[in-house]
Symmetry: C2
Subunit: 332 residues, 2 copies
């Protein structure tokens, strides 16, 4: 029931996802409205279960209070299913604040993880790069950067098949001495962590694909992500206008249509799908509030893939075995 286009686009996205085999979907929300969206032909699909939820969390609700006071909302019911392991992944396009609060309060952090993080994967010239954190923690300690690096590295290994993901620390320059004290300390611990740490990186390195996991605080990550989306829109809008404004433009478009569609697909946030919340006990994905069916479909497929990997168990093992008492512990 979350997001601007629920339940219509959510249900549509589910039906599109169900064209792929290997999973079941449980829809949480207003049964009557969901059934209406499903239509008679899909109402009895054995891979679709509907669970009625009656509470509604809006963007006006205070996240923590909403989680406490609206136990029968789709977010709370979904998180409880993650906790009980009766669901292997949970997706919502609803209130980001409530989703994050629910992840922490109900699903809970992986033992040893100090701060979970939002970890969108963005396009680069060479493939994809993860930005972690992109908005969950606006003020963090050195150890958080390190944990983000470890979590991001495991996710990119499992989900993008990168054998040894290059982890970089976002900074105002590539020299080791750059940045504030927290960043300098993070740099020192990252060097010793069991990941492929390549040092400080800048925004350009993300789009050029010189790094697979770009570690930063949530404020910086959020700002980068949004201006990246904005810059993408700037170019796509310019091209759209250029190709539609004149006859020559329309002819020009026809000649490179295939490549332009490829570009559009590469940079379309709906194609990339939702953002995982890493560091919590479950595969939880956040979708944009304005998600349409394509975004929902792609997020469902991504969530299913991630639930099929052992990334969650690996993270649990890594953080359980972490060098407690060593340099890592001192920085906590």
């Amino acid at each position: 029931m979350g997001g601007d286009n629920a339940p219509d686009e959510i249900v549509k996205g589910c039906l599109e996802a169900l064209e792929t085999d290997g999973f079941e979907i449980e829809l949480l929300g207003d049964r009557a409205r969901i059934e209406e969206c499903l239509g008679k032909e899909n109402i009895n699909n054995p891979r679709l279960i509907i669970t009625e939820t009656s509470d509604e969390i809006t963007n006006m609700d205070k996240p923590t209070e909403a989680i406490k006071n609206k136990p029968n909302s789709s977010i709370v019911v979904g998180m409880n299913k993650i906790k009980a392991q009766s669901a292997q992944a949970f997706i919502s396009a609803g209130s980001t604040g409530a989703l994050l609060a629910g992840s922490l309060l109900i699903a809970g952090r992986i033992k040893g993880v100090s701060r979970p993080a939002l970890a969108p994967v963005v396009p680069s010239i060479k493939g994809h790069t993860m930005i972690i954190d992109a908005g969950m923690n606006t003020q963090i300690k050195p150890i958080n950067y390190v944990q983000f690096g470890i979590m991001g590295s495991e996710y990119m290994k499992n989900m993008h098949g990168i054998e040894s993901p290059r982890v970089g620390l976002v900074n105002v320059g590539t020299e080791e001495s750059k940045g504030n004290e927290a960043l300098k300390q993070a740099y020192e611990i990252l060097k010793k962590a069991n990941i492929n740490f390549i040092g400080n990186v800048e925004g350009r390195d993300i789009t050029e694909g010189k790094v697979d996991v770009a570690v930063c605080d949530g404020f910086t990550g959020n700002a980068m992500l949004k201006i990246m989306e904005g810059t993408g829109k700037y170019f796509m809008d310019y091209l759209k206008k250029m190709y539609s404004n004149s006859l020559w433009g329309r002819i020009s478009y026809m000649l490179v249509k295939h490549e332009l569609k490829k570009l559009k697909k590469e940079v379309d946030p709906e194609e990339l799908g939702g953002t995982p919340i890493l560091g919590v006990n479950g595969m939880i994905y956040k979708c944009h509030g304005n998600s349409r069916s394509k975004a929902i479909k792609n997020t469902i497929l991504k969530a299913c893939s991630s639930a099929c990997t052992t990334v969650l168990d690996q993270l649990r093992n890594i953080f359980a075995c972490m060098d407690i008492g060593g340099i890592y512990d001192k920085a906590l």
Copy 2:
């Protein structure tokens, strides 16, 4: 003598700028090498003065030490000319650290300005937006955000002819309650400042031209600027490849060549020219280390325009008359 392509491209840029009337250029550096770049036909140009400097500041030098120990470097000599008001503007493509240190230590802050800032102007769908700060201050107080807003507003008024520049505070959401304590306090003071404060903004608002002055800490601004450049490069590289890869691509290019050149010009950092350092006693512009003649030319013209406005005097007046003892003072 600063930058990767000095003095060749610097001198070339000066000669290109001199095609426009109304100013003189004083070149600071190695006279013999400069004269060689100028060539016989330009050596006696009455609008070009050469002043010999013998010290060289590199990126390896510690900025503050370099300013103290290399008094005859182009940066120190230039700053002293700004201080003595024998130059109305100073431009350098040399060590950013030394340029910033020189601005603070020699030209000095405008009375009442707590922290000067780097303030690049970037393209938006509707024109241009200033990002202030983009790298000079990585950790700041609420009052700094407010001063950045005031300085940016005056600059955009004078240099871009915007009557009442819309000033926004970069945050992780547009709601007033977003961000850390410093941002919340900054929000409160900005509301009361004598500028057109429009509230919190996000990266998208910058590229969409919904804000004229985007205020942020230098770490966030630097990260946004660099990923924006990187994203621009991503698109331009894709288009370049698309148009050159096949015969159809080359024909397609010919049909929209004019619009594509316009786009290239709009997003070309060399066209936009250097970045002003606002809040210091003088019009000082920083150019990219890799600047070519076009960037130098455009920065010279921009610096001349700004020196012809009264923006510096206006800033001096504003900060001299600032509400000392009021809400503004308490937040210092």
